[in-house]
């Protein structure tokens, strides 16, 4: 369960900052090896977990251990233009290391607004402090930026004698995510129910996979130590409390729910009650997943007519499959095109179309897409008379196929959830007895929304 050392590097693998936790790995060499891995291993052969044995041989997966024991194991994640990497010599818990690295990146982002080479250099003193507090002897400790902030600050003027600061109780308490004595003038809490639709449609138009990934996001501005209870139209909860009849037709069956650490899981397992003391500020209370077949909210069909050596034509039809009183905002339909097209021309019944040569795609923007409508768009490109055919075999293959990437769609539909999930109540009890109002919003948006082209 341990990491020997953690370091952050730029995209070339040059170390920006590092921390050696256990002294059992020569850190400078490990960083060199990581750099070497980034530079010399084929992009396609890279994996987030790999091993370098004592002779410097790199191996992944089943090959590991072929040359006997020893060496170092690397676990890394990419984050914008830096890598966060952990090294270990033991049979460590990789899942733990990975979640730690992601959360560490989040802590840095919470602190500095962004995580990149400059922000690390600008704040290296605080980063060292954070590295010291978030992990000890390779074991993750506290990674809650709200709590860390109460005793590790970026104040320019904290040079003053600050020997009075004490470790916040939350650092070791059962409620490790909320400091004591929080005060807000106005006690408010905002709930956003955000559903993202993942969709994979085969070239023949059949839906291969559709899935709703929902999240209940909260922004909590409540004083003291409030006890909250959230009521959803959860089918299993109705059943557990014997009210299945009462809520007939209105309840939703959630396939898998994941909760923020503040939610009492044993309680939920018991009677499906969602009870918790929220952290202050923004957090994801829960995420859920539904596998039910849903109608693709925005449907796209493409007819492509390539004429080799002269031109290529697209006819794109899109249709909205939701009630006409709802509106999808900022719809973007992204259609891949071959890399060597020229002289684009477009004709569309609505919205605007742009060609993005750097992405090898055209984007059809529709600001407001009402439910139950259908629109058409035609695109026309010239193709060079000499194609990449002259290239080597593999190159030819790539050139011919890269524009066969799937069509992607982006959209946002406010006041609407595909699943039909509803917040029935949010009870807030605090011993001082203040009244607080919850504000609820619903929104449905695209997730990983892909339609393969024929």
């Amino acid at each position: 369960m341990v990491a020997s050392a953690v370091f952050v590097t730029d995209l070339q693998g040059k170390a920006i900052i590092s921390r050696d936790y256990r002294g059992d790995v020569p850190l400078a060499r490990a960083i060199d090896q990581f750099q070497n891995y980034l530079a010399n291993v084929d992009e396609e052969a890279k994996k987030p977990v790999f091993h370098i044995d004592s002779n410097g041989e790199i191996s992944v997966g089943e090959e590991v251990g072929a040359n006997g024991v020893g060496g170092e194991h690397f676990v890394y994640v990419a984050h914008q233009n830096v890598y966060l990497c952990a090294v270990t010599t033991k049979n460590s818990n990789v899942a733990l290391i990975l979640t730690f690295l992601f959360r560490l990146a989040q802590v840095f982002k919470d602190y500095f607004g962004s995580l990149e080479e400059e922000s690390i250099r600008d704040n290296f003193v605080v980063i060292y402090e954070l590295l010291d507090e978030t992990m000890d002897h390779g074991m993750p400790q506290s990674l809650d930026s709200n709590i860390l902030r109460t005793f590790i600050t970026q104040d320019a003027n904290r040079m003053a004698e600050n020997s009075n600061s004490k470790p916040p109780v939350a650092l070791t308490n059962a409620v490790s995510w909320r400091a004591e004595g929080i005060k807000h003038k106005k006690n408010e809490i905002f709930l956003d129910v955000v559903e993202k639709l993942n969709l994979l449609v085969a070239a023949n138009g059949s839906v291969l996979h559709s899935e709703i990934n929902g999240a209940v996001k909260m922004r909590s501005f409540l004083s003291g130590m409030p006890e909250l209870k959230l009521g959803l139209n959860d089918k299993l909860m109705f059943e557990a409390t014997g009210r299945s009849n009462q809520a007939k037709g209105k309840s939703v069956e959630l396939e898998d729910i994941k909760f923020h650490q503040c939610v009492r899981l044993a309680r939920f397992e018991n009677d499906r009650t969602i009870s918790f003391i929220p952290p202050d500020g923004e957090f994801d209370l829960m995420t859920y997943r539904l596998n039910t077949q849903v109608k693709p909210l925005i449907w796209v069909e493409a007819v492509v007519e390539p004429h080799k050596g002269s031109r290529i034509e697209y006819m794109i039809k899109t249709r909205s499959n939701f009630k006409s009183r709802s509106v999808a905002n900022n719809v973007e339909i992204i259609i891949p095109v071959p890399p060597d097209v020229d002289s684009p021309s477009f004709k569309s019944s609505v919205g605007s179309v742009t060609y993005l040569p750097d992405k090898d795609a055209i984007v059809w923007n529709i600001k407001q897409f009402h439910g139950g409508r259908e629109y058409l768009m035609r695109a026309h490109f010239g193709l060079p008379s000499i194609s990449r055919r002259d290239d080597a075999d593999d190159g030819k293959k790539k050139g011919e196929n890269s524009w066969k990437a799937p069509i992607r769609v982006k959209f946002e539909i406010p006041y609407f959830t595909v699943s039909g999930i509803q917040v029935r109540y949010l009870k807030i009890i605090e011993k001082s007895g203040y009244q607080a109002l919850p504000w609820v919003r619903y929104i449905t948006a695209h997730g990983d929304y892909q339609l393969r082209m024929a």
């Binding site: 369960m1 170390a15 900052i17 059992d24 400078a28 396609e44 987030p48 977990v49 590991v64 020893g70 194991h73 676990v75 994640v77 010599t89 049979n91 460590s92 818990n93 990789v94 899942a95 733990l96 990975l98 979640t99 730690f100 400059e118 600008d122 290296f124 003193v125 402090e129 010291d132 000890d136 002897h137 993750p140 506290s142 104040d155 003027n157 040079m159 020997s163 004490k166 470790p167 070791t172 308490n173 490790s176 085969a202 291969l208 396939e255 898998d256 994941k258 909760f259 923020h260 650490q261 899981l265 044993a266 994801d284 997943r289 596998n291 593999d394 293959k397 196929n401 892909q450 393969r452």
Partner: protein, 883 residues
């Protein structure tokens, strides 16, 4: 690049300003400045230099000088510097000791913790002596933040000086911290103990019934990271029976709902490991659990790609172990265009494992889609997957071949080559069924330039030579370049030509002669020459025999190339979420096992035996946290009860006597081996155990006989055993445990495998911490129902074996601990003696032995909750008495 801003600006990058000559001198001046701000900035500049890799160790004393400060930030920086350079300046580091000790007494808990944490990171031997005092205090500090930091520090100290940890009783204190009121302290104590257990190979974590309850309670309260520590230590624990396993699973299941993927995966590990114990009688509960596991596993695929990768590697294991869990979820493993390649490859592997006749059509559509993608490796794997589906599903084979033929028509070079390779496998799996497609394959002959594809095509030609009109001509074209071919192609070419000749001798006489010449005379490759000579001899002496050999039936192939051996699979399930589960390799295969006890006093041996010996000499067991020092020199050392388990008739000439015993906390299977008539010396054995009632499995499968045992000689060998839940045989309820442990041995010298069973003597499982407080003993004794009592009499003992003092001493050697003795009222000369035992699997046994003066017999009364094991415990007591 000075930013030119005011020095009070928070932007630290200014400290990286490159400095010219004399910078160190300048820095040194600043470090000694009286003005605080200058000092702080100077230290920051030093740390900045350190960060970019400049050597600033020469400023050691100057930086150290700044440590006397009330400014935490400055103190942290100086400590950071110390951690970095302590190793290069061990002598000077000692100068910091005073500050550490002082800080560890600071009124501010942040500083107390910081001092202890930092001291633990300074891996200088001499510092550790000074660490013990503050650490001991910190472990009992009133502030939980200090205690939790101190708990981890014990693990740090163990890394450098394990004997100091034992000497100071820190392991004991850590164990006490499991009962701490603060959940973070509990979690860190568990983490530290687990780590020490792993490093030392000894069970210092010891989960007793009470500890178990503490852990389960803390699971609900501690941080997500702490939950992972606790779950991981639970996964290593073996519940005593199915009921206990089910109880723990119930408490662990809510963790599947946690947002943190690491918590989810560790919970899955515990549940899957314990499910093994639930027994088949409990199929309803198992089915319900199976249903509960699917959704969280699927949700893991919505995480970041790196986590998906780890999840997929684990799901690969899970679908092999329990295929039902995800049998209906194949669609979630369909690849997305923008999945990273490492995710796609793993998804494909799982698709093949989940493919069935129900979903094959959809899977084929998907695989066809993938084979038009950009990435060559992925495309090849997709094509190969189509072939594997055909081999796996007989009824779908034809459809698979149809898709492969379509793909061959695309004429994309690597697609064609990969198709040929898998079609060869399909031909092998279904002989004489799909030859109609050979013509299509032959059309693409000249595009094949990879050895494996060429070899596959040649194999097909040879195998179906009689159906291909111009088989000899085709082979002939290959022969022209024989010498340039890859060895694999050469071998296939040789075999195919011989096949062709046997089927059609008239036209191919010349060709076969040519290829035999090429193979035997022109080639340097020993494999090729050997095969050539064999064919030559066969063909020249007995063509009929040659036919039988070369054209004989081939063994059927199955799609099991990627299937793991069941015992490896079981052990990997216990490793879910770890590196081991990602590599699909047991930890032993890649992690250096470190013996404890290295590092101090020059005993830098990593040899387990030496370590044990050293332990004996030292007269002190490092890990004996029960406070039961074995310092009294006359400690009884139990012998393994050796019985003949296999004779020469069953094992190709080897006789084995075997028995179990415990030595210094490790369970061993000891064997006396007599090489009666095996021709080769026995130099090494490989061992495997069947699942058994005790969960025993060998720590290493290799046994080295040193020196080797020549024919007629004898020697002995010992195998260290470990207890793992996955090796527990399911037990029918109400039946006594089966004492047999079934063993398979392979003699590496001869390749011969033989089997035998050894009766397990339960005393080998008695743990060193089996002693109890007298009051606890009485309470437990009372709490156990009388129905769970077992009586017996052991008679005809030699007089010396009924002397109570010596029995007590002897039993201690067996980890059977004396609790109390008292005369029986109203029965002259009778005395009862009480003992307690606890197995390393946490079964407790309480015994009452009655002795009567002048009688060479003893009455035994045994109490335990584990009725199934009671007869074994009784038998163990009996043999201990007789020993």
């Amino acid at each position: 690049m000075p930013k030119g801003k005011d020095s009070s600006n928070a932007n630290d990058s200014r400290f990286f300003t490159t400095q010219k000559k004399g910078e160190l001198h300048e820095l040194r001046m600043e470090l000694h400045a009286t003005e605080k701000q200058v000092k702080v900035d100077a230290v920051k500049k030093v740390i900045a230099s350190m960060t970019v890799g400049k050597d600033v160790s020469s400023l050691f004393t100057d930086v150290l000088n700044c440590v006397q400060t009330g400014n935490i930030e400055l103190k942290k920086l100086v400590y950071l510097y110390l951690i970095n350079y302590a190793k290069t300046q061990p002598e000077l580091t000692l100068l910091a000791v005073n500050t550490f000790v002082k800080d560890s007494n600071d009124p501010n808990p942040l500083i107390r913790a910081l001092a202890v944490r930092t001291m633990g990171c300074i891996r200088v031997d001499r510092i550790t002596e000074y660490l013990c005092e503050p650490l001991g205090r910190a472990l009992r500090d009133e502030d939980p933040y200090v205690r939790k930091t101190a708990a981890v520090c014990v693990a740090k100290l163990y890394d450098i000086a394990p004997d100091l940890v034992a000497e100071r009783g820190f392991l004991e204190t850590l164990h006490d911290l499991i009962s701490d009121s603060n959940p973070s302290v509990v979690a860190n104590a568990v983490a530290a103990l687990s780590e020490i257990a792993e490093a030392s190979g000894k069970d210092v974590m010891k989960i007793s019934a009470a500890v178990l309850q503490k852990l389960l309670a803390a699971l609900n309260e501690c941080t997500e990271w702490g939950q992972v520590f606790i779950l991981d230590s639970l996964a290593k624990y073996t519940p005593a029976d199915g009921r206990e396993a089910e109880g723990i699973i119930e408490r662990v299941t809510p963790r599947l709902q946690h947002a943190n993927s690491a918590v989810v995966m560790s919970a899955v590990k515990v549940i899957l490991s314990y499910m093994e114990l639930m027994g088949s009688s409990n199929s309803d509960a198992i089915r319900a659990l199976t249903r509960k596991l699917a959704p969280p596993l699927v949700t893991l695929l919505n995480s970041e790609p790196e986590i998906q990768y780890v999840a997929l590697r684990n799901i690969n294991l899970i679908v092999q172990k329990r295929p039902h869990i995800l049998e209906n979820e194949i669609k979630v493993f369909f690849c997305k265009y923008n999945d990273p390649i490492y995710v796609k490859m793993e998804k494909l592997e799982i698709i093949i494992k989940l493919v069935s006749e129900k979903n094959i059509d959809q899977v084929l559509l998907e695989l066809k889609e993938y084979s038009t993608e950009v990435d060559v490796d992925f495309v090849r794997k997709a094509v190969s997957a189509i072939g594997r589906c055909a081999v796996k599903l007989e009824r779908a084979a034809e459809r698979c071949i149809g898709v492969l033929l379509e793909l061959i028509q695309t004429k994309v070079n690597y697609v064609v080559q990969e198709s040929v390779i898998v079609i060869k496998d399909i031909f092998r799996r279904y002989p004489n069924r799909y030859e109609s497609i050979i013509a299509t394959l032959c059309d693409n002959l000249d595009t094949l330039d990879e050895p494996l594809a060429r070899a596959s095509m040649i194999w097909i030609i040879g195998e179906y030579a009689e159906r291909i009109d111009n088989a000899d001509e085709l082979l002939d074209t290959f022969l022209e370049t024989f010498e340039e071919e890859d060895p694999a192609v050469q071998l296939q070419l040789l075999t195919a030509t011989v096949k062709c000749f046997l089927k059609n001798p008239e036209d191919t006489q010349d060709m076969v002669q040519r290829v035999l010449d090429l193979a035997t005379e022109e080639s340097d490759n020993p494999d090729l020459r050997d095969r050539g000579f064999i064919y030559w001899r066969l063909l020249s002496t007995d063509p009929e025999a040659a036919k039988m050999v070369v054209l004989g039936d081939k063994p059927v192939i199955e799609d099991d190339i990627f299937k793991l051996d069941p015992s490896l699979l079981n052990s990997l399930i216990g490793q879910i979420a770890t590196l081991s589960s990602v590599y699909h390799k047991p930890p032993d295969a890649f992690v250096v096992r470190r013996a404890a006890g290295t590092g101090l006093g020059g005993d830098e041996d990593d040899d387990e035996d030496d370590y044990e010996a050293e332990n004996d000499v030292g007269g002190e067991d490092l890990l004996d946290i029960g406070g039961m020092g074995i310092s009294d020199g006359g400690l009884y050392e139990p012998k393994a009860p050796m019985n003949k388990v296999v004779g020469p008739e069953k094992s190709n000439g080897i006789e084995v006597h075997a028995g179990f015993r415990q030595l210094n906390g490790t369970i061993r299977l000891e064997m006396d081996i007599q090489n009666i008539s095996s021709q080769a010396s026995v130099h090494g054995l490989a061992i495997q155990l069947n699942k058994n009632s005790f969960g025993l499995s060998p720590a290493s499968q290799q046994i080295v006989c040193n020196p080797p045992i020549p024919t007629g000689g004898s020697g002995s060998a010992a195998v260290e055993l470990v207890v793992t839940p996955s090796m527990l045989a399911p037990m029918p309820p109400g039946q006594p445990a089966n004492p047999q442990v079934q063993v398979a041995i392979k003699n590496m010298a001869t390749g011969n495998v033989f089997y035998f069973a050894v009766i397990f003597n339960l005393d080998a499982l008695f743990s060193q911490d089996g002693t109890m407080e007298r009051s606890a003993f009485i309470e437990t004794w009372k709490s156990i129902d009388d129905r769970n009592e077992l009586y017996g009499t052991v008679s005809d003992l030699p007089p010396s074996n009924v002397d109570i003092e010596s029995v007590i001493n002897k039993f201690k050697g067996y980890n059977c601990f004396f609790i109390a003795r008292r005369p029986v009222p109203n029965a002259e000369g009778q005395e009862v003696v009480y003992f307690s035992m606890r197995t390393v699997t946490n079964m407790e046994f309480l015994a009452e032995l009655t002795f009567k003066q002048g009688v060479n017999a003893t009455k035994i009364c045994l109490k335990t909750e584990k009725a199934a094991y009671a007869p074994l415990a009784k038998a163990a007591l009996e043999s201990m008495l007789r020993a």
